[in-house]
């Protein structure tokens, strides 16, 4: 690879100097509401920034930040996982993102199916799965599509780009705003504000949260992923709480506009329609999933292959993932955390996904200030 010289230049998008972080910590302290508050984010990348840079150490007493259902791998239902495993066992080449191969469904993981001869491949992009399908025209190739609004446009793009006949998509994409509504309407609710995921918002736009903010009178601040981005967003949330406002604010304007990415939205609208979806640990959330539209049905694995998952939802005994995903508990509240449950032998899905709260806490020791 030719050396371009670029690699060595400082990254203009790194916003993480300790001086400004300190200044934000002072601001957070000055704006702490009189009663304890819980701010919930729904993005594994936010959790990684917070844990990796020790941002909880900078939070004043009484301000707690928790990860809700922010890891697509963790919220994929066992039924969908079972269906992917069955497709692989029945001879299809199943392509998916890395973490997905290690999450247990009812009986086994995709990696275990692969160990017994199934053809399961890890891809970095929906386009990679199409390339595999072109290389193996005689075999069914299924892209097991997971992820939120950030990932779904890629799946939409390949579906709309006349993929080969042997290609299909097992579509389990999910939507963030309905999940925020579900968190706010499933008692007991202890959520004072949301830190909304920056890159989901790049696609859907900050305005997409307005309805949730208004309906539940909850501040929603869109935040980026550099440490200073997160601190700024948290400060805006505290300020809203102190002033009794419940608005959508955009703390990540360099990547997010009010309207979002119109082209990506158009791809989503042409390829998918909303459907009810089951979130692992949470249950069915109305209109929180994306299903492939009728005119693209021939690339829909669900319509093409009669595959059923096992009934019911596999819940490992003792695992508190449902509470972690509902932002009612942090990983350290789980008695199995770091003892029976580790990334090498995960008990629940939140320890498997590299974006799962339990996994992130295990890696970075993200225990909050108590």
């Amino acid at each position: 690879m030719p050396h371009t010289g670029f690699e060595m230049s400082p990254d203009p998008f790194r916003l993480r100097d300790p001086l400004r972080a300190r200044a934000f910590a002072d601001l957070l302290a000055r704006w702490t509401p009189p009663r304890p508050v819980r701010i919930v984010h729904v993005c594994g990348t936010h959790e990684i920034t917070i844990a990796q840079h020790g941002l909880r150490e900078l939070l004043p007493d009484g301000v707690e930040v928790l990860e809700g259902p922010g890891c697509p791998v963790c919220v994929t239902s066992t039924r969908d996982l079972d269906r992917a495993v069955k497709l692989a066992e029945s001879g299809a080449i199943v392509c998916t993102f890395g973490d997905m191969t290690r999450v247990p469904g009812t009986r086994r993981t995709l990696a275990e199916a692969r160990a017994e001869g199934a053809d399961v491949r890890v891809v970095l992009s929906a386009a990679d799965a199409v390339a595999i399908a072109r290389k193996h025209p005689d075999r069914p190739v299924v892209f097991f599509a997971v992820g939120f609004e950030t990932t779904a446009p890629g799946t939409a793009a390949v579906l709309l780009d006349s993929p080969p006949a042997n290609f299909s998509v097992l579509c389990t994409h999910k939507l963030i705003p309905p999940a925020l509504s579900a968190l706010m309407s499933t008692p007991p609710v202890h959520i004072d504000a949301f830190l909304a995921p920056g890159h989901v918002s790049t696609v859907i736009g900050a305005r997409a949260y307005a309805e949730v903010a208004e309906r539940f009178h909850v501040p929603i601040v869109v935040g980026g992923f550099e440490p200073l981005d997160v601190l700024y967003a948290l400060w805006l949330a505290l300020r809203e709480l102190r002033e009794g406002r419940a608005e959508v604010e955009n703390a990540y304007p360099r990547a997010v506009t009010a309207d979002g990415n119109r082209r990506a939205q158009e791809l989503l609208a042409r390829a998918f329609e909303p459907c009810d979806a089951v979130w692992r640990g949470i249950g069915t959330i109305p209109a929180s999933g994306l299903r492939i539209r009728e005119d693209l049905a021939r690339w829909d694995a669900e319509r093409r292959f009669a595959i059923e998952g096992e009934p019911g939802e596999e819940r490992p005994p003792g695992c508190r993932c449902p509470d972690v995903l509902m932002a009612r508990a942090v990983p350290a509240d789980c008695p199995l955390f770091r003892t029976a449950c580790t990334p090498l032998s995960p008990v629940g899905p939140c320890m498997v996904g590299t974006e799962g709260a339990c996994h992130v806490w295990y890696r970075y020791g993200g225990r909050p200030k108590l």
Partner: protein
């Protein structure tokens, strides 16, 4: 850090080194990789920064906006100090 392969959810700033129709070659922390431009909806030139997620560019980034954000932070600090 091998971010490109580790996290499916991490969208990272990359820099365009070549454009070929619907496909850009981008530099991510020294590694060259491909990014599809279908979902972007704006023109791309060599040297541009792109936010790439799971192989698809979702936004063009301007380094000036990042500097603008830092200036905004400093204004906030100054204002808040005055209110002190």
């Amino acid at each position: 850090m091998a971010v490109v392969t580790s996290y499916m959810c991490l969208a990272v700033p990359t820099r365009v080194v070549a454009v070929n129709g619907n496909l850009a070659t981008v530099n991510v922390q020294g590694v060259h990789t491909q990014a599809r431009l279908d979902a972007l909806g704006e023109p791309v030139a060599i040297g541009d920064y792109l936010l790439v997620h799971a192989g698809f560019a979702i936004r063009r980034l301007d380094p000036e906006d990042a500097r603008e954000t830092l200036r905004l932070f400093d204004e906030i600090f100054a204002l808040q100090a005055e209110d002190g």
